[in-house]
Amino acid sequence: MAKAVELAVEEVNDAGGVNGRQVKLYQEDDATDPATCLTAIKKLVELNDVKLIIGSMTSGASMTCGPYVAERKVLLVSPSATSPELTGQPWRDYYFRTCPSDTFQGKVMAKIALDEGLKKAVILAMDNPYGTGLAKVIESALGGEAEVLTVIKYDPAKKDYLTELTQIKNLNPDGVFHIGFNDDGRVIYQQALNLGLDKMRWIGCDGVYGTGMFATKAAAEFMAKAMVGTRPASPEGGKYEEFRQAYLAKFNTEPEVFCDTIYDATKLILDACAKTGTDDPAKVREALLSLGRDYEGVSGRLTFDGQGDRISGVYELWAVVKKGEEYAFERVRLIEAE
């Protein structure tokens, strides 16, 4: 992800910098640990005199760093903290997010289920902030129109999920929401296929998207038979394609997840500096709020609400199709979440 920032900064510096000055980039590793992240940010602010920071990467780290940046009046823009819990925190004045909160994905997943007319659902979620956060949103978004029989939480480090899957089998729902990652997803889908759970509708999320899923044949077969899923869609063509080409040319690899939102975060901050002619966080903050209205970024159209949360996201509904002997993800349609 840091590479996308380097790219953005390089582009701006090559074009003459901001306000006649070159942009200097400092990098620190937050190790996705809230305490480490706070130490790293304090180092940047107090020793390097940095006023505009792109981070924190995780929602937990945002919880420790948020109050501090509000106290010190420096700006924090996170490209990847998606937890709904961050919305409405008292320290939000100097904290922005260029990624949509998981609230939107949860709503989209619930909408898909309701559109298909599912009546009884089970939520199978990893026991981490991402999993439990999404599960909560889905449950409230279903709003009683479909009944949630139970929420099953599991430890994603496990190698066997027969207990959870048997429980689902006994409850016999119409559909299962699954919030997981690739590694646990492969095992779950393989075992679900063996138990004959492919007769019900499974709705996945961005965590189980990726060709890594096809490393296990049975998992791929299961996904083709039973699954659809959602993920934040990178808009096709246009600005994203430009960004992708530039990224490919510079680093010789495809951009990873969140590279687009971190690129947008960098560009937005620098644009805001150029607009105000200063790097004073209080003024940049105001500029960000006004710039962040229908901003055409590489991650799609971006609008901030009053506290700096991105208010809409475009999601892709995906399915898995079998082409000859190979499996592949296919875009069914785009869904705009509000």
Binding site: K42, L47, G60, M63, E71
Partner: protein
Amino acid sequence: MDPLFYIADTLVFAGIFALLTLSLNLEYGFTGLGNFGKVAFFMAGAYTYAVMASAHMPCYLCLIGAGLAAGLIGFLITFPVLRLREDYLAIVTLSFGEILRITIKAQEGIAGGVQGIVVPGAFAPFTDSVRLLALANIGLVLFCLLFTFLLVQLLTHSPYGRILRGIREDETAMQAIGKNTVIYKAGALATGSVIAGVAGGLFAQYISFIDPYMFLPLVTFFVWIMLILGGPGNNWGALLGGLTVELINRGTRIAKDYLSLPVDPNNLQFILFGMLIILFLLYRPQGLLPEGPVKTAARKEVLRWRSSLPTGS
């Protein structure tokens, strides 16, 4: 920019970890108990503080609660465990730390589960000044550290401390002269756990948000590194070890701004710690500051005190 804040932050972290190192020193350095579950008691303290502070209790009560909760857990858990041999003690305490962490992670009702819990700052209601806040935090941590240091120093330089060292050197011999070693070991572990609990409370207060992912076994290993570098069996060594490791930790981060290193600075830090541990264990197993003699009062003086007691019996 204000480097003073960064120095203050360093002192607070070093202070909290020095507390942990002192508590491990009491357990391992003096009594020979290999507690590999330090993080469990640290965590128990942090969560107790968080839950009590969320219920709007004053800071000092929360800290006392944090210490007592961790101490109680330490006392209870070590009773069945203390009859085990050294290496089994290490395994049991290590797994206990994980059990506690996973329990808190899984039980959303206790303190937010995986989502973590926000800890209200102790001084936030009294002042808006960032400087005063930093000063208050340093004051609180250093006060706790000073108090604990004096306590541990007095404890280990008393006849009680002599028995602890005796247990470390030869437990059978201590039993032979009629000491109930289990009680003494449980006492040392409970006291160590109280200190770790207070450190946890201070940590939670300072960081203002805790979640179960912050209490991985890595924390325990950091405390061990501090103690091994500083010098097991020497309380000054424990303080020095805590400060040294914290400085290396931050130093590698700062150094990378000025040097271009072939490895990532955060990995460099782990390489450095690993090398230091190996070198120290090979060439200086007694640590930076080696263990000194027990400074209990001389026999003659004690007899004089005793004869001056009014009862005289």
